[in-house]
């Protein structure tokens, strides 16, 4: 029996920042194993989670991501020995900062997915996609992106229309 494809009202943009050795390979494994998961996720590959700058997370939210996944090697498995340990602290701190500024942390998922965990990749991505789908779009950053200081605000409808076309 083939399940009817469900169409959703809202398809979130999900970005995954992953390390090449573990999670990227794990996602490859999910592919070679022909596992199925929602197509919302876009993968940005890094050598190591240690390379992932918090700015990238912020930037992705600003540029329209509704949910973000950061994923790398399990502790002790880092190809570069300690990159993920540094990343773990960095993100432990950064998520607290985001939370304090008012970002709902349900939109930011961290995980360890090894090269052997194709199934876990699918599970993490699916779960995050479904969660964000239920939460709806990340309006805060999108609204902010369109906001102007009062003096630079464009009041006429035509200009506002033109303006909305800008990223």
């Amino acid at each position: 029996m083939h399940a009817e494809k469900v169409k959703h009202d809202f398809e979130p943009k999900i970005v995954a920042f992953v390390c090449t050795w573990c999670t990227y390979a794990g996602a490859d494994l999910a592919g070679t194993s022909r596992m199925q998961y929602p197509s919302n996720v876009r993968v940005v590959k890094f050598p190591c989670t240690g390379r992932i700058d918090p700015v990238f997370i912020l930037r992705a939210f600003q540029k329209g991501a509704d949910g973000i996944l950061v994923s790398g090697c399990h502790p002790g498995d880092c190809h570069y020995m300690a990159g993920n340990f540094h990343a773990r602290r960095r993100f432990a701190a950064f998520r607290k900062l985001l939370e304090f500024v008012g970002v709902d942390l349900a939109r930011l998922q961290f995980s360890w997915v090894s090269a052997a965990e194709g199934g876990k990749w699918v599970e993490v991505v699916t779960e995050l996609t479904e969660r964000i789908r239920a939460m709806g779009p990340l309006e805060e950053f999108k609204e902010l992106e369109l906001e102007e200081c009062w003096s630079g605000k464009i009041d006429t409808p035509e200009l506002q229309e033109a303006y909305k076309a800008i990223p």
């Binding site: 996602a27 592919g31 070679t32 197509s39 890094f46 240690g50 918090p54 930037r59 570069y80 020995m81």
Partner: protein, 665 residues
């Protein structure tokens, strides 16, 4: 304006079945900076690569995106193609629309949309790619081999025979490893010692091999071609240069009742001892924990009787630093302890099998020592409890292996064969004895292996019972084996004189800590991980480190020797070049902006960051900045993420490249 070429691969139907590749190519063609876009059946094929090369020339492309499989699969292929088309290979990127798209999504529309967006991101990335030139580093053409079992011996001899120096480090007082403990070997029943000892002697005599026994790896620094290895030579208490190996000390040692672990504690040895008669080197070592002199300060017999004055109670551990260019790890295995669950072990024990409490329940390696002509019983098979010859022996396979409920799910690979061998050896030595084997199934894929196994049943009369044993218990002087025969569907009870358990092969205790010193990865069972299960079975992901033997996973002797020679060949391949070329994915410091806070140095896992002084023409210090040694840098990029001003940048993963991808979302 960039001139990017986009090549969308059908991968037969692997991609085109779910992704509308033509639509992807058409969408790519509309992207800003894309000069050419097309799709093709098999991009990795010769004509596919030809297409790419032709397009580079015809359309004056300055960047390439191949939308196909995972870069882990074919990035090298296409970068080489780009290179032969005259383009810097690092201007070529792959958009993974197979593993990350066509294979994981069913809806054609969604998959196509996703593929377009993946290609878009990669196009934006390639625009920001820079030409990179491979980095060359000198190679120290000496090799370290860790472990002196058959794997280490084979690798060391091969490398040394090729004319390169080898440093062989063995933890035990003698090389030889587990193979030296075996009686005979399957499937030919060669005497293990007969084929092993000549190789051990070759090692000792080889002019290119520096042998450190009773030694361990203390620390490893550096990188491929340039490792600095610190070896701890444990205090042997015997001066190796002076000792002649006459054996008087071991004969005179008053302390003689120490169980010999080489004989699986069946035989006894003195406190100053060589583990077995054919040991290499034939130099005794004092077991300080059991030596009366070291315990009480009294005795000193060995020193008194030693003619050359080789016994040295004051000897200290010594640290030696060896520069090497490559490392072969051949640390072997140990057997699963099937006693009650040991504290802290991730594995469940086999308390129900009474190991350790019922004396006549032994493991396979102990049986090897019993069957060995040079073993504690001189090759006579007797029961540990009373020395009687056992008339009924039950062999149980898969003890620990393939037992998910006990924590190990892998197959130990060698047990089927050695159990068959054991039944033969037993039958050869105890003609009126009967061997029973409880087994799940027999795994005999190997040259002459199945024939060998059949012979144990058909000619040597072993009775194979398909089923598992539930319990063992002592009844009088018998060990009752309760099991089931699943073929017949009955409960079986055998009153055995001796039970031999084919226990699982597992990684060495401490394998993980050695891995951490080496910077190599290991799996959840602590077996070392190869870089690729099929295509790089000998290499570690850490460049310059290779694997041989059972430290990577259970292996029999032929496989071990093959892998050891393969590892040696890899080392020789490395040493065949004058200099090493490495991928230029390394961090570089922008000295103009660096403010020398040295956070990069604090977080670098490789110690690749140095403090560099910038001086004026007169030699006056102007300022200090960070410098990344490209030979040492591993390319993780932790420095860049940490640097507040991004004055250090990882080539291949620059902020510009990453942000271009994010902005293309």
């Amino acid at each position: 304006m960039s001139r990017i070429g986009v090549f969308v691969c059908h991968c037969g139907e692997n991609i085109s079945r779910t992704v509308d590749v033509e639509k992807v190519a058409a969408a790519a063609a509309r992207l800003s900076g894309v000069a050419y876009a097309t799709d093709y059946k098999y991009m990795c094929s010769d004509p596919g690569q030809g297409l790419l090369k032709k397009a580079v020339a015809e359309h004056r492309l300055d960047g390439i995106v191949v939308a196909a499989c995972s870069p882990r699969m074919h990035e090298k292929t296409f970068r080489n193609a780009a290179k032969s088309a005259g383009l810097n290979p690092f201007l070529c990127e792959m958009a993974n629309i197979r593993e990350h798209c066509s294979w994981v999504h069913e809806d054609r529309e969604e998959a196509t949309e996703k593929a377009i967006s993946i290609v878009t991101m990669l196009v934006e990335r390639v625009k920001k790619n820079r030409k990179l030139v491979p980095i060359t580093v000198p190679i120290t053409k000496r090799s370290l081999v860790i472990g002196g079992g058959i794997a280490g011996i084979q690798a060391a001899l091969d490398i040394a025979d090729a004319g390169h120096e080898v440093v062989l480090v063995e933890r035990e007082p003698s090389i030889g490893g587990h193979m030296a403990q075996l009686s005979e070997t399957f499937p030919t029943l060669d005497c293990s010692q007969c084929i092993m000892t000549p190789k051990m002697v070759d090692v000792a005599n080889h002019p290119n091999i520096r042998l450190y026994t009773y030694s361990e790896i203390e620390n490893v620094e550096g990188y491929i071609g340039n490792f600095q290895v610190t070896v701890r030579k444990k205090a042997r208490s015997v001066d190796m240069d002076k000792c002649t190996g006459c054996g008087v000390c071991t004969a005179k040692c008053p302390q003689k009742k120490i169980p010999n672990s080489f004989d699986r504690d069946l035989g006894m040895r003195p406190a100053i001892y060589v583990p077995f008669p054919q040991a290499v080197p034939n130099t005794p070592v004092i077991d300080r924990a059991n030596c009366t002199y070291f315990k009480t300060g009294k005795c000193g017999v060995c020193q008194k009787v030693c003619g050359p004055g080789a016994v040295d109670y004051e000897q200290q551990d010594e640290l030696v630093v060896e520069p090497v260019g490559a490392i072969v790890v051949a640390t072997g295995f140990e057997l699963y302890d099937i006693g009650p669950k040991p504290a802290g072990s991730p594995y469940e024990g086999y308390g129900e099998f009474g190991y350790g409490t019922i004396p006549d329940v032994i493991d396979g390696l102990t049986f090897e020592r019993l069957a060995s002509a040079s073993g504690p019983t001189g090759g006579k098979i007797v029961r540990p409890s009373d020395g009687k010859e056992p008339k009924q022996v039950v062999f149980i396979q898969c003890v620990g292996s393939r037992a998910r409920e006990k924590g190990i799910s892998y197959c130990s690979k060698i047990c089927c064969m050695y159990t068959a061998k054991h039944t033969m050896l037993y039958h050869h030595k105890v003609h009126d004895g009967q061997a029973y084997v409880f087994f799940m199934d027999a795994r005999t894929p190997g040259k002459n292996y199945d024939e060998f196994w059949r012979r144990s049943i058909e000619e040597e009369e072993a009775v194979y019972i398909r089923g598992m044993v539930s319990r063992l218990y002592q009844k009088g002087d018998k060990v009752v084996v309760m099991g089931s025969d699943v073929l017949v569907g009955v409960q079986v009870e055998i009153e055995a004189d001796l039970v031999v358990l084919a226990t699982a092969v597992q990684a060495r205790t401490g394998a993980d800590s050695l891995a951490q010193k080496l910077g190599i990865s290991y799996d959840k069972y602590n077996f070392y991980s190869e870089a690729h299960a099929k295509l790089k079975p000998v290499e570690c992901a850490t460049a310059g480190i290779y694997l041989a033997g059972a430290c990577q996973g259970p292996k029999d002797i032929p496989d071990t020797v093959s892998q050891a020679s393969a590892a040696a060949a890899k080392v020789m391949t490395l040493f065949a070049k004058a200099e090493l070329e490495r991928e230029p994915i390394v961090a570089k410091v922008n000295e103009r902006n660096c403010v020398a806070c040295f956070y990069c140095k604090k977080v670098c896992p490789y110690g690749a960051v140095e403090e560099k002084e910038i001086r004026d023409r007169n030699g006056n210090l102007i300022r200090v900045v960070a410098y990344v040694n490209p030979g040492v840098c591993g390319g993780c990029g932790t420095c860049q993420a940490t640097c507040p001003s991004k004055s250090v940048e990882l080539d291949g993963y620059t902020d510009e490249q990453v942000i271009a991808m994010i902005d293309a979302l």
